[in-house]
Amino acid sequence: MRDRAIRRVLLFFVAIGAILAAVALASLWNIDREGESSDWVNHTHAVILELKGVMGALDAADGEAASYAVAADPRFRAACRGSLSDLGEHLALAAALTRNEPSQHSQVLRLQSLAEARADVDRDILRAADRDAAAAIIRANAERGSTAGIRSLADALVGQEIALLEARDRASFVQERRVRLTVWAGAAIDMALLLGVARLIAAYARTRRAAARALEEANAVLETRVRERTADLAAANRRLTEDNIERKWANLALQHQLHYNELIVNSIADLVLVVTKAMNVSRINPAVVRLVGREAEEIINKPLSGVVAIDGDPVGANADPLGPLSRALAEGHELRDTPVLVGDRGGRPVRALLSLYPVRDQDKVVGGVVILRVVQ
């Protein structure tokens, strides 16, 4: 999404740059054309000026020659020479300026020949020996006509040049309008493209803002969940801590209870033995050790028959010397005050009364407690 938007913006800018370059090139080309048009307008003005200069110089030369013929003043002669020099310049320039316009050029050449002929008359006047000769030259040429023909030709040429001027000025105007149109069109297209870029960037910014908002919302939800979960965990931890404390207290109570039970059992003067279902001794109280004279390790995990024998049966004589006890335990009923013999530390049989109490775990007999009370 991001790459595509950037690519689009870049494309827009490339297009804007291309249009700017095209407008600049077109404008430069148009300016060149405009310069050419302007040169042509100036050129036409120059031709008109030269044509008018021809007539002015010719009139001046005529007047000064006539004045010289009348007054013979050398100043008129010098002035006439100057005017004739100017006439030559104007004619040469007019011919040069129109040399690439055949129609005008031929007319200028005709004008040149007429004007030169007229100038020759003025030169003849200047060269005349005296006033009479000069007057004769003037009279002779007056018969040939005035400068009206030259003037009308020059005016016609000026008229043509003015028409050309209008055409060239129109071309210049059109060129100028084209320049303006090109520049405005380029500017308008560039503005449109810039607006497009602006919209694209705005859309991209909106999308980014929306994405940022969505991310913020997702983060907020996640944070809420984390907070809730943390609170749950803290509560669970608190509960667990409380349970642990309670369990510790319960364990301590149980240990106390066990300790007291043990103290109680140990304080009993009768012999207390815990037996398994197979009639093996699993626990004993100190009274057993005291009477039997053997260590607890020698008694525990050994058959009860090693300690006790049914009175009348010598200890270890039968294969199942404690058959009544085994049966009572298997059947789950008690035995009370059964006469038995217990070997003391001297190996002497001591008479005792045996009571057996089955130990149940969930209604199942798992063993029994044997209590031996020594009979004196």
Partner: protein, 191 residues
Amino acid sequence: MIATNSLRGGHKRRMLCWAGMVCALLFVPLGAITVNDLLAETRMTPRRFANHFEDFTFQAFPYVQDPDVFLKTANGCCQDYAILGSFVLNHDKFETHLVRVLLVGGEAHDVCYVTQTGTYLDYNLRGFFVNTKHSGRRLREIAAKVAASFDENWTSASEFTYTYADDMKRLTVTVVKTDPPSEDPDAKEGS
């Protein structure tokens, strides 16, 4: 002590003397120069010629002034300067071309182009340090530079001849701005 003071005094006097001479050279008018003075000047160059006209003033005349009058009055126009320049430099074996540039509106400006140096003398350039301008040989190039110095456009440029004896200007070659440059008469001459 006395000897030292006198030495110092002599040094001062010499310094004052030099300063006076420099001032005299810079500020005291040397008297009007004549055409003969210019023709007699050895090692004449366009720049040395132009150096004589630094203080001249401008006044347009409808005719070409007598060169001695122009030099004596220190007053004239572009055609007086260009024609005199051409006259003097031709005498010193320089090849010169008198060029008339016609500006828009009918105003004309004359300059003298010197082939050997590739520069032209222009009455509007009379400063001591900058008094000639480089240009190509073709009339179109000269006209473009001359017109640019006026901030104007030109319409045509012509080479002309003039002699003081004849007192007649004659156009020999004319270049028109709107013509294709390849068709200029001086381009054909060059090729």
